[in-house]
Amino acid sequence: MPRKTIKVQALARVEGEGGLYLRINNETVQDARLEIFEPPRFFEAFLRGRDFTETPDIVARICGICPVAYQMSGVHALENTCGVKIDGPIRDLRRMLYCGEWIESNVLHVYMLHAPDFLGYPSAIELAKDHPGVVEKGLALKKAGNDLIEVIGGRAIHPINIKVGGFHKSPSKQKLRALLDDMKRARDIAVETVAWAASLDMPDYEREYEFVALRHDSEYPMNEGRIVSSAGMDIAVPDYEKHFEEIHVPHSTALHSTIKGRGSYLVGPLARFNLNRDKLSPLAAEAARSAGYDRPCRNPFASIVVRSIEVVEACDEAIRLIEDYSPPDAPAVQVEPKAATGFGATEAPRGLLYHSYRLAADGTIEMARIIPPTSQNQPSIEQDLQEVAQRSLNMNEDALTHLCEQTIRNYDPCISCATHFLKLNIERT
């Protein structure tokens, strides 16, 4: 094969603006890049000088698709800074809220962003013309997630009810229980979704990743746990920066997160599933087993199935928590600021989301550090691109380009999130 370059200027069906770049020479893929041209927004810079209580409202704006994740990592990091630990019904409400976001975000990806690749449509809208039932199910399921976020958070995008220490107002038992019928229907759809996703024709591709996710003693991880990996890492969240680093690759302008001394790793649904399968609810575990997913999954294309399994888990968990819920005595615990540094990590739909803050004694933020999942996955995405393209060089260019796009979409990359923290690809000449 002669020398050639494959470029997609603007990737579709990803959140934010990115492109892909592939350089092929003599049957060898020499360079494979996920390019980021989303403009930076400097959240870590303008958080300095703000009051710590403003954090949940501000960091939500990093991402319109997963604002709850930013709010949750933010409040947990700040509570850690101030020496407060939240338990009981407030902790349960936060987990319910996160279930809503997992449902909404994973279903958006499964049905609207990822499925069209497997079925050969440019979008879910075209897909709906031939298969209206499929898309309608997806929309109903997504709505159940958004409804849950609205009841607890006030609105689905940039919820307003989240504060350091808890909530401004706790939802009544009746309001939450009113969601139960829809959530049970959603759970049925989610179980069907797992079987449907597993029936899709999938490229046969596997790679040995180091999977990284939170792990908790008794639950599938969302807001709490130790950071563990498939290569034996097992650390407390405050030790994150001792084990992970962001390095600057000369020909790529993105800051890439790596495990010190080891290299790339993978966060997100595959990592969570592989490291926490034993914590799935019986229903989610059964849905996984019947779909043939009863062992670790190393095929990134199959993430559509694993995301669907996590939707069953999130629906099931939300139903359990709603049924057990009684409002807390007070919607929030009083949190007094402390001159200290604290850390928090939660499981955003796309994977581990790490926050760290240093506060002054009066609660002014002196330093903020935020490491989103997409920047952690970027080296893995590029390695997948390189390997998938290398194995598929005999394809015609359109097919190869589409396969490479799909390889990136496997990760549900959130470029809008990642960009506040990634280098841009615009090099000055």
């Binding site: 069906r13 409202d57 501000i58 609105r155 940039h158 107002k169």
Partner: protein
């Protein structure tokens, strides 16, 4: 053939992204009950977050999300304007510069060095500015994020060529309509509702907190009078400066009031 003709007749809708969080364009995909009907009524001709299909302009309606923060985007918005019959900005970033307009009050070079190890690679303007600073805009929809019912109203109105019916009053009116007790009067909680554009449905007072202004300033807001009320409730100059300078910091009335408060010594 018949199908083709229908397809040709449907107005073309485009959705464009500039510097933003994607939340406002997500609002369209969050219209779970209406999305397929919208896709029937209009030809979604360009919407990168949702489809690989990229039709060429001209477009009947362009929805523009995000603010202008790079030299490339300052050029690109002119292409969008040229290819669009109606250009509607959606959300606080596109209408007021968004939270990233906080850079406008600071030294962007210093900001860049805080976030990026190699600031020389980052191509960014010193300011984040609304779309209307660059090209004429036919309609502005407020909110961080926008309200999806208002979005559907705007799309519908643009398609039949009437003015969208979106209220211009303050959040206070919505709060009364929703039957909430005034949080300032009843429990002394500072609230931006009296100066903030309606559209959210007064969500925050319904959750026992004050409005924080994410829909931006209403028409002719009396921010000075409200700031005085806030001081009576114990707010400091720093509190006031910060609350006006957050999600709509570059909208003129909020920018000015925040600057006035910042200049005061408590």
């Amino acid at each position: 053939m018949a199908q083709k003709q229908t397809a040709k007749k449907r107005p073309k809708l485009a959705v464009w992204k500039f510097s933003s969080c994607d939340g406002c364009q997500l609002s369209l995909l969050d219209c779970e009950d209406e999305l397929l009907a919208v896709a029937d009524a209009v030809d979604i001709a360009y919407f990168l977050e949702a489809t690989r299909k990229q039709a060429k302009g001209p477009f009947d309606v362009s929805l523009v999300e995000g603010s202008i923060t790079t030299p490339e985007d300052a050029e690109r918005i002119h292409q969008v304007r040229r290819s669009s019959r109606f250009l509607v900005t959606i959300g606080a970033c596109a209408t007021a510069g968004g939270i990233q307009a906080l850079r406008n009050f600071s030294d962007v070079k210093e900001f860049t060095s805080v976030v990026y190890a190699r600031p020389d690679y980052v191509s960014t303007l010193a300011t984040s500015t609304p779309i209307a600073h660059h090209v004429p805009v036919d309609f502005e929809l407020y909110g961080c994020p926008i309200n999806k019912a208002q979005l559907l109203e705007v799309i519908g109105a643009m398609l039949v060529g009437r003015k969208p019916d979106t209220p211009a009053h303050s959040v206070c009116v919505e709060c009364k309509l929703a039957g909430h007790a005034c949080v300032m009067v009843s429990h002394g909680t500072p609230c931006l509702g009296p100066v903030t554009h309606a559209g959210c449905g007064a969500i925050c007072p319904g959750f026992d907190r004050g409005c924080y202004g994410c829909f931006g300033p209403m028409e002719s807001p009396n921010t000075a009078a409200l700031a005085a009320q806030w001081r009576d409730l114990g707010a400091s100059s720093r509190d006031l400066q910060r609350v006006f300078h957050t999600f709509n910091a570059w909208a003129t009335p909020f920018r000015r009031q925040g600057e006035l408060d910042a200049a005061q010594n408590d």
